[in-house]
């Protein structure tokens, strides 16, 4: 078994035009920076991106929007990206907005091998249009399908040669869920260690879900809102 790839370019080489890809992260926290940069370089177009957010104008998925590589975004919140809003209002970009919990749980359902979930989120709203509803114990729920995607691109803190992953702090967010949901899952990590070095009790994503892993380089880890209190 060899899951180790040299770099992002090698790991994403077979992502074709018009693929559906999942990208982990919340805002710019825990995003697969190396994979995004490699996709920009490779010039893959017509992408459908499933990701909670759409980055900012000049970072994260915003880089793929600038180069018009994205055909459709499936997200819960896209408020930090003016270029996104422009493309959307001009009709250049398709978007499907979903409640954040629905987005997360549809990823989870895929990884758990379940075809759909029932959630109360979005009942009675635009999100419910055209979707099947069902009542349980007197409350109405929407049926939401598990996601189908060609690739999941996730970012972890540490990984081993088996593909086991550990995430750090709130950079975990959607990453372990998407890791379970990709037809092919590509993990970029800050540190890669030989199998046996990570404590099995501490693994967040078991390696069976991860097809490819590489050590990322030059993480910028941009912060959207630096908020601090002064040194006393």
């Amino acid at each position: 078994m060899n899951k180790i790839y040299a770099n992002a370019e090698e790991a994403i080489k077979d992502i074709q035009n018009n693929s559906t890809i999942m990208l982990g992260g919340f805002g710019l926290c825990g995003i697969p920076e190396n994979c995004i940069a490699a996709l920009v370089k490779q010039g893959t177009t017509g992408l459908t991106c499933i990701s909670n957010n759409a980055g900012v104008d000049d970072f994260g998925i915003g880089l793929l929007l600038q180069t018009k590589q994205v055909k459709k975004m499936i997200s819960s919140y896209v408020g930090e990206n003016a270029e996104f809003e422009r493309q959307l209002l001009q009709g250049e970009l398709e978007v499907e907005l979903l409640p954040q919990g629905t987005l997360a749980t549809r990823c989870m359902a895929t990884g758990y091998g379940m075809p759909a979930i029932f959630t109360p989120a979005g009942v009675g709203t635009e999100v419910a249009e055209g979707k099947e509803t069902r009542e349980f114990d007197g409350k109405t729920y929407l049926m939401e399908h598990a996601f189908k995607s060609d690739f999941a691109l996730v970012k972890a803190w540490k990984g081993d040669t088996q593909g086991n992953l550990i995430f750090k702090a709130t950079a975990r967010n959607f990453n372990p869920l998407m890791a379970m949901a990709g037809k092919i899952t590509i993990a970029e990590v800050e540190e890669i260690v030989p199998a046996g070095e990570l404590d099995p009790d501490m693994i967040h994503t078991p390696g069976i879900y991860v097809n490819r892993i590489f050590k990322g380089e030059g993480y910028e880890k941009r912060i959207e809102q630096v908020t601090t209190r002064p040194k006393v």
Partner: protein, 217 residues
Amino acid sequence: MLDKYGIAKRIAQELQDGYYVNLGIGIPTLVANYIPEGLDVVLQSENGLLGIGPFPIEGNEDADLINAGKQTITTTKGSAFFDSATSFGMIRSGRVDLTVLGAMEVSDNGDIANWKIPGKMVKGMGGAMDLVASAKNIIVAMNHTNRAGESKLLSKCSLPITGLNCVKKVVTNLGVFEITERGFELKEIAPDVTIDEVKNATAGRLIVEGDIPVIEV
């Protein structure tokens, strides 16, 4: 009249020992600054943290540690991290005791609109639809009127709905309102505000009965 800090202080009075609380972006976030001393309240951030601490000391920001508003934060003693499905699992299964949200409009039967202005603003609902569909207790923190001076307390929301029949209480710059079967029931009034001012600023059904105490913050 209350300012945004006054609204946050009044909402903080709703907190109880042992509460798990989710605070939305904007005025709701300010509630964290006024948690009464001696109360053990745990703040949930839907991007995957229970136990939100204060902002980090200058120079200690960690890009991997943010809240749902994408601000750098810290943990507290007893914090826990988790993935986004677990986060909404605790919301959906009713573990979060109180949710405080901002809104563009609230109707007198408890509908809320806060995620979209068609043709103008496309930001998305984030976690708001999940929260309003499942939270046990939802308080809306907002100004009573919009920038054009129009009431945000309506008989029916005109903007796309975030959730139906879910808001329990609204705290505005003018007063505290409980949502009952008969509409917005004025429970407390802001300092230096008259009942007539509240009536004129409220488009939905308004109930004013008995002596209305003045908000103390």
